[in-house]
């Protein structure tokens, strides 16, 4: 399989199994080299030139980026599996994407990505694309490659993209930066009304799911959560609470209806929000590339800083050189 971005986009937008391979490879490129995200837009434009009647002007966007977060073992993956099943039943001709992030070892950098184990029944459904990602040392609940992988999911036509974070503590709330709606999954046995009071995780939910309602303690947790939500005085939006059992598939249909309802109510606000994020992502990628270029220059020419201090070279000179190099490297792409 090629590693050429334009060719990959072209193949990913064709039919047959090879398109899946290309989409998978595109996701790897976005994961390994997150700063190349802007090239995806260029590749789309280039591919579209020959296929205008077939392809929209802009990269297609999912109807919903759904974030799912919560403590380790609360049932995020099992619930994602159940949601995918329910979505596929409710919208049979729509494609669903899943991005599932698991932690990496701080010692070896390795990881076991086990979220997919819970979702294997969808493996041969050609309308479900599941991608596991390692956090690769990134703190915050996600990983740097998530944004690019999410774009590729949109590009291949996913209607909904579910983003499962690593099992989080109380302060990893990065998912709010990529998701339109955030679901916080809680399960009985992981704290009481004091945990509900704490800042961070408990503030970011658009929607709470209390999972494992088949277990003892879930009703009590539900009551505690409701009374805790009643205490907030300046909540801008409603926060829904849904009791489910992901393993028994209880109330999953209600959860999907709720998500669809929230999406249609709120989605008019999302294009502006998404555009803002897209601009931020692109400028971040550009800065990353500049930073890498400068680091490379300093590696090959360690005297540079010294020369600047001595006054023999100006920052302007350095910028000029870097700019020329940047132009060269874009021509290679």
């Amino acid at each position: 399989m090629t590693n050429d971005l334009i060719q990959l986009v072209d193949i990913a937008l064709k039919d047959g199994p090879i398109s899946v391979r290309a989409a998978g490879r595109l996701m790897s490129l976005m994961e390994d080299q997150p700063w190349r995200l802007p090239e995806l837009f260029h590749a789309w434009a280039a591919v579209r030139q020959g296929r205008e009647d077939e392809l929209s002007e802009q990269i297609p966007m999912p109807r919903l980026f759904l974030g799912i977060t919560g403590a380790p073992g609360s049932g995020k993956s099992t619930m994602t599996d159940a949601l995918v099943g329910e979505y596929r039943e409710k919208h049979p001709d729509k494609k669903v994407g899943v991005i599932a992030v698991d932690p990496s070892s701080p010692f070896t950098g390795g990881s076991v990505l086990g979220d997919r184990v819970r979702m294997m029944r969808h493996a041969t459904d050609s309308n479900v694309f599941i991608r596991s990602l390692s956090a690769r040392g990134h703190l915050g609940g996600l990983t740097l490659g998530v944004k690019g992988v999410a774009r590729v999911m949109g590009l291949i036509g996913c209607d909904v993209v579910i983003i499962e974070t690593v099992g989080v503590g109380q302060s990893e709330v990065e998912v709010t930066q990529v998701a339109d709606l955030v679901t916080v999954v809680l399960a009985p046995g992981q704290g009481d009304s004091i945990q509900m009071l704490k800042a961070g995780l408990m503030e970011i939910a658009d929607l709470y799911v209390i999972n494992k309602m088949d277990r003892e303690g879930s009703a009590q947790l539900h009551t505690q959560l409701l009374s805790s939500l009643n205490l907030s005085f300046d909540k801008k939006e409603v926060t829904d609470v849904q009791l489910v059992s992901a393993t028994d598939k209880t109330n999953i249909d209600q959860l999907v209806d709720l998500l669809d309802k929230r999406t249609s109510e709120q989605s008019s606000d999302w294009p502006a929000l998404r555009e803002k994020r897209m601009y931020a992502d692109v400028s971040e990628s550009v800065l990353d590339q500049a930073r890498m270029l400068l680091a490379g220059e300093l590696r090959t020419n360690p005297d540079l800083t010294k020369q600047i201090i001595e006054g023999t070279v100006t920052v302007h000179d350095v910028a000029q050189v870097l700019l020329e190099k940047a132009c060269d490297s874009t021509q290679e792409v």
Partner: protein, 136 residues
């Protein structure tokens, strides 16, 4: 090493157990040692069909698939995985296997395209070293 590029990208490996075999200690053990060797291991659980394993491997864009089997059905199931990979344009994914596989069956498996086979008692280091040498 398991760093495939200068950018710190990692080698992704999928561990799968095809067929009706519930012996998962070996598969989990291998997942664990590969994790400790710096690989990104996608574990898919027990009792999977070759179709599920291959489709997952393609979506995950892994470099390698490791099949673990202690049921005795390796000749047919490993072959099926290789055939499906070819069918789907992914025959460049390296496939290796392990479990209770009689030594007599190993040459046949290697001839059909299984890169290496690891039987009971294989030391962790041997597995990791062989995988790394496949990448070189």
């Amino acid at each position: 090493m398991s760093d495939s590029t200068a950018t710190g990208a990692k080698v992704r490996v999928l561990i799968g157990k095809p067929g009706l075999d519930g012996h998962d200690r070996g598969a989990k053990y291998v997942a664990h040692i590969l994790r400790d060797a710096g690989f990104e291991v996608i574990y898919t659980g027990i009792r999977r069909t070759p179709e599920q394993i291959v489709d997952a491997a393609i979506q995950e864009d892994v470099k390698m698939i490791g099949l673990s089997l202690l049921s005795g059905a390796h000749n047919t199931l490993f072959k099926r995985v290789l055939d499906l990979l070819k069918e789907k344009g992914a025959e460049d994914i390296i496939v290796f296997g392990g479990g209770t596989i009689p030594p007599d069956d190993v040459p046949g498996l290697e001839a059909m395209g299984i890169k290496a086979v690891f039987g009971p008692g294989t030391p962790a280091k041997e597995i990791v070293d062989t995988l790394n040498s496949c990448l070189a």
